[in-house]
């Protein structure tokens, strides 16, 4: 007899193990909690349940109760309450936990069911694993190893279906590999609300296709590739580039907007091959935008900065920083620091230290785009809130550096330190740029690097570790995926040296030391360190910033405050 543990939990029995699960949990998820694997293809925790693959068949039963007396019927053999097992196997994905539910996954019938489904799925599957991109991360491979018979009884001709159908600019379809699980159809319909995929024909000849005149071209199309359990949908970008088992996975954050979708960056020998979403139910569920997957291409962009420059000539980092220090010292209190909403929390804090050392004014450029109400917000800077938290800025960034331009015109500013911002694009004229000395720390060449006296190449988000604060004030960490190019130096190291050359106190530019300092200097970050920060992030106290008019509209897990809801998206 099982008794419920808590009112909101119900106890179920899975292969003899009892577990308390929240109401509404299905059998697959409940089994996962006790370490019992229920294989499936069509089920996806974030999509509707259709129950079409039949891989998750389980046996279910309920404790027997005498219908007349309502008393439990005991089994004399075991001394426990008898279980009435339903002879017909049921699908786990559509079986919700109910009090006293008993589940068996380890019986001969279930083994036979799984072997049967595996065999059926493979009879018309091309078995072209040697040339298939999904190999190595293919559910069909994994589960045929785990639950299949290991041999084929099929001697008939396999079905022919379209190969290489371009569903959209980024997604390629091989219909012969498709197992018709309908995950991609449901994703487009339910998550993106862009209903473009469907099946045509029937029976085993059913074929996935785009509706006539439509294309799978929404900015979330590559999620269909992620959730495709087989190699039917592949990314035109990643296809045939690399075997997945050679790739190293590193946790990272999507920096294209303040949503901060959690990602995994896949690299080999210093080269990034793809970016995929990492589940975080508080931020991006299991999705990410297509645009965020292309960010790694900036790492090897032709305009990447790889040489330290002093007045346009190559030099060493030490010489450049010493010159920069001299320029800064000479400028007295006429220095302005332009931070970047793309910098990490740690960089923001060292930038603040630099600004305090120099008595410099701080500025920041906003990047406002259109939010898509999903995983791209209106604020295209990933870490404005980080700058607020560590105190680099006190108010929200502006679109143009108008105030700085005025200060340059009056001569109140003679030196500008730019942390990767193109000052020209931010509204400063060529004349204004020519009037000041510029110290530039950044990754890519732009108009400002041409005008700068000192240019120090630094690292992209993929080449360093750090943290970002997203729109929910969730502190999230990213880790170094690949080494930076020769000639580029870690931003923190550069900033720390710049602080010293500018006359400040010595600081070690590495994560543990910056965090040790942050924990004591910033109230909201006490007792936090990079190493112990959870992979799913940590929500910081946002109340000190509640009055700021943040510009984002809603996204999947973010609702703007009522006062800002009516503002520009």
């Amino acid at each position: 007899m099982i008794a419920p543990l808590k009112p909101d939990l119900i106890t179920v029995n899975i292969d003899g193990k009892e577990i308390a699960v929240p109401k509404g949990t299905n059998a697959i998820e409940a089994a996962r909690l006790v370490g019992v694997d229920v294989p499936y293809y069509c089920y996806h925790p974030k999509l509707s349940v259709v129950g079409n693959c039949r891989m998750c068949l389980i046996e279910i039963g309920m404790p027997a109760v005498d219908p007349a007396t309502k008393t439990p019927i005991m089994d004399p053999a075991t001394g426990k309450q008898k279980i009435n097992w339903i002879p017909r196997p049921q699908i786990g994905c559509a079986t919700n936990a109910s009090p006293g539910l008993h589940i068996r996954t380890n019986t001969a019938q279930i083994k036979d069911c799984r072997e049967g489904v595996m065999e059926f799925l493979l009879v018309n599957h091309p078995l072209d694993c040697p040339i298939c991109d999904q190999a190595g991360e293919c559910k069909l491979q994994e589960q045929s190893t785990g639950y299949g018979r290991g041999y084929s009884r099929y001697v008939e001709q396999k079905n022919f279906k379209p190969k290489r159908t371009q569903l959209g600019p980024r997604v390629m379809l091989d219909d012969e590999r498709c197992i018709l699980c309908s995950r991609c159809i449901r994703f487009c319909k339910e998550v993106v609300k862009d209903d473009v995929l469907g099946f045509i024909d029937r029976g085993s000849y059913s074929t996935l296709t785009c509706f006539p005149g439509k294309a799978l071209e929404n900015n979330y199309s590559l999620n269909t590739v992620d959730i495709c359990p087989v190699g039917a949908l592949t990314s035109t970008d990643f296809r045939f580039k690399m075997r997945v088992w050679f790739l190293k996975q590193t946790n990272s954050i999507d920096t294209e907007s303040s949503v901060g979708a959690n990602t995994v960056v896949w690299s080999r020998e210093g080269v990034i091959y793809r970016i995929t979403p990492r589940p975080n139910d508080g931020v991006n569920d299991t999705w990410m935008a297509d645009t965020g997957r292309e960010l790694f291409k900036a790492v090897r962009a032709p305009n990447r900065l790889t040489a330290v420059k002093l007045d346009g000539l190559d030099t060493s980092l030490e010489v450049a920083l010493n010159s920069a220090g001299a320029i800064l010292k000479a400028a007295g209190r006429t220095v302005a620091l332009v931070g970047s909403g793309r910098s990490s929390v740690e960089e923001h804090s060292l930038a603040r230290k630099l600004a305090e050392t120099l008595g410099a004014s701080t500025h920041m450029v906003s990047r406002i785009g259109e939010g898509d109400r999903m995983l791209i917000s209106g604020d295209r800077n990933p870490n404005v809130r980080g700058a607020l938290v560590v105190g680099l800025i006190k108010k929200l960034p502006t679109e143009k550096l108008t105030a700085l331009g005025g200060a340059i015109d009056t001569g109140a500013v003679t030196v500008v330190v730019s942390l990767g911002e193109d000052l020209h694009a931010a509204g400063l004229t060529a004349a204004q740029l020519a009037k000041v000395k510029i110290i530039y720390l950044g990754t890519h060449a732009d108009t400002t690097t041409k005008a700068a006296q000192v240019v120090v190449p630094t690292l992209t988000v993929f080449e360093k570790s750090g943290t970002l604060v997203n729109q929910q004030f969730r502190l999230q960490k990213f880790a170094k995926c690949v080494p930076g190019p020769a000639g580029a130096t870690d931003d923190l190291a550069v900033l720390a040296k710049l602080v010293v050359t500018a006359g400040g106190t010595a600081t070690l530019g590495d994560l543990p030391n910056v965090w040790a300092s942050l924990a004591t200097t910033v109230a909201g970050l006490a007792a936090i360190s990079y190493a112990t920060l959870p992979d799913t992030g940590l929500l910081l106290d946002s109340t000190p910033f509640a009055s700021l008019p943040f510009c984002e509209g809603e996204t999947f897990h973010y609702q703007p405050a009522a006062t800002t809801a009516t503002m520009k998206v």
Binding site: G51, N52, C53, R54, P89, G116, V117, V123, R202, S206
Partner: protein, 450 residues
């Protein structure tokens, strides 16, 4: 002339000389009088009469009609729909088409009574795509009945209103499965729904409570109300009440459609007396008693059944009464009433190849076992017939069928695997020896199966 053993209630006027399918003729023969009586009764009384009658659904599953009506969620506040399943597509079944063609108003009267009893404001007749003529007749009949105030707003001067819509299918067997039919009616691919949670009585058409009844079942409702549930229950045998339509096709002298009190005629009487026995010089070999998805019966086999008092009786195929329960006890089913007879000229491998081709073509493709298994079985039997049979193919066929039955979303899994399971089990020798019996070279012009 109807065969003497028949008891015609539903088919009373079918093929009667001078009987036409227009409203005037129907009214002349007493039509719509029961509807007039029904609208004066409390709805619960009508449902009670149907429950008392013991009427079982005539679409194939034999589910008690009154129980089905009792399951409808009446507290949801959502509208209740009645959907008439006129997608008669089971091979071997052709009863509903005669009701629709020759006596459509009988169906409409049944629909209106059932609608009134269940407070249905909109009823849909989902008619098979291959019945365009029937659809036109129904559309005409609905228009006539509407003009005469039997259908539509405030029927017969009462406050009750109900519209009937005729919806044509597009030609898919799976649309006869009730949840597939509902999906199709909603304009989607007819993928049957998973149950739970989508039981039509709760979450049916447009996620509202829905009753799906077969054409013949609804016709019976009219006669139940006419004679009273208790009187109706006396027809036939206990738990197998009323009359039912049987469609006999295949190798008998007089194939056709017949109506009998359920269980009052045996299979032997049906085939030998009513249908005139086998064709000259032939003998019966096998019979499928309830549409092509029912398990086949082999002449010569016997069944030992338990009686209620604990004793047992042994039946030959000829002695099986044509009722739901005995057929089920013999391992097959009454199904949709399509009796398909095969004599000794039939090779069972080729017969199964034909059936398998049908089911492979009609599988909707939603769930794995049926989608892949039905086509695989078709490929095996087609290969056996047209190319190369192997002695192990029979066992393989059975194994594939076993992997389908009971593991699919809808009953199509059983429908496509029961023929294979029963053919192989009962005619295993033919499957094993097929390679030897068919030594002649394959004809170059041999037609491909469907």
């Amino acid at each position: 002339m109807p065969a003497p053993q028949q008891r015609r209630i539903i088919f009373k006027h079918i093929d009667a000389p001078g009987y036409t399918n227009d409203l005037a003729c129907y009214v002349r023969h007493g039509g719509y009088e029961i509807l007039k009586k029904a609208v004066t009764l409390p709805a619960a009384t009508i449902i009670d009469e149907v429950k008392k009658s013991g009427l079982r659904g005539r679409g194939g599953a034999g589910f008690p009609c009154g129980v089905k009506w009792g399951l409808v969620d009446r507290k949801s506040g959502k509208p209740i729909y009645l959907v008439v399943n006129a997608d008669e597509s089971e091979p071997g079944t052709f009863k509903d088409r005669y009701i629709i063609h020759q006596d459509p108003h009988q169906l409409l009267e049944g629909i209106m009574i059932a609608s009134f009893a269940n407070n249905v404001k909109q009823a849909y007749i989902y008619i098979r795509g291959e019945f365009p003529h029937g659809a036109r007749i129904l559309e005409q009949a609905v228009a006539e009945a509407r003009a005469a105030n039997f259908v539509g707003p405030n029927i017969l001067g009462t406050s009750y209103s109900c519209e009937i819509f005729v919806h044509r299918g597009a030609g898919a067997y799976i649309c006869g499965e009730e949840t597939g039919l509902i999906e199709s009616l909603e304009g989607k691919r007819p993928y049957p729904r998973i149950k739970p949670p989508y039981f039509p009585a709760v979450l049916g058409l447009y996620q509202c409570p829905t009753i799906v009844n077969n054409v013949e079942t609804l016709c019976h409702v009219k006669h139940i109300l006419e004679m009273g549930g208790d009187t109706y229950a006396k027809i036939g045998t206990p738990n197998n009440t009323g009359t039912r339509l049987l469609c006999v096709s295949g190798h008998v002298k007089r194939p056709g459609y017949y109506e009998f009190a359920v269980g009052e005629i045996t299979l032997g009487e049906l085939l030998n007396e009513v249908c005139g026995g086998p064709l000259p010089g032939r003998t019966f070999k096998a019979v499928i008693p309830g549409g092509s998805s029912a398990k086949i019966l082999k002449f010569g086999e016997t069944f030992t059944l338990k009686n209620k008092d604990g004793s047992s009786r042994t039946l030959t195929v000829e002695e099986i009464p044509m009722d739901f329960d005995t057929l089920a006890a013999c391992g097959t089913m009454g199904g949709s009433g399509g009796v398909i007879v095969m004599d000794d000229s039939v090779n069972m491998v080729e017969a199964l190849a034909n059936i398998n081709a049908f089911y492979a073509h009609e599988s909707c493709g939603q769930c794995t076992p049926c989608r892949e298994g039905s086509l695989w079985m078709k490929k095996i039997t087609a290969r056996m017939v047209h190319q190369q049979a192997r002695s192990e193919d029979g066992a393989l066929l059975k194994s594939v069928a076993d992997q389908i039955a009971g593991r699919t979303i809808c009953a199509f899994g059983e429908a496509c695997s029961w023929p294979t399971q029963s053919f192989v089990a009962k005619f295993g020798d033919e499957f094993k020896g097929y390679a030897e019996t068919r030594k002649e070279p394959k004809r170059a012009d041999a037609l491909e199966l469907v």
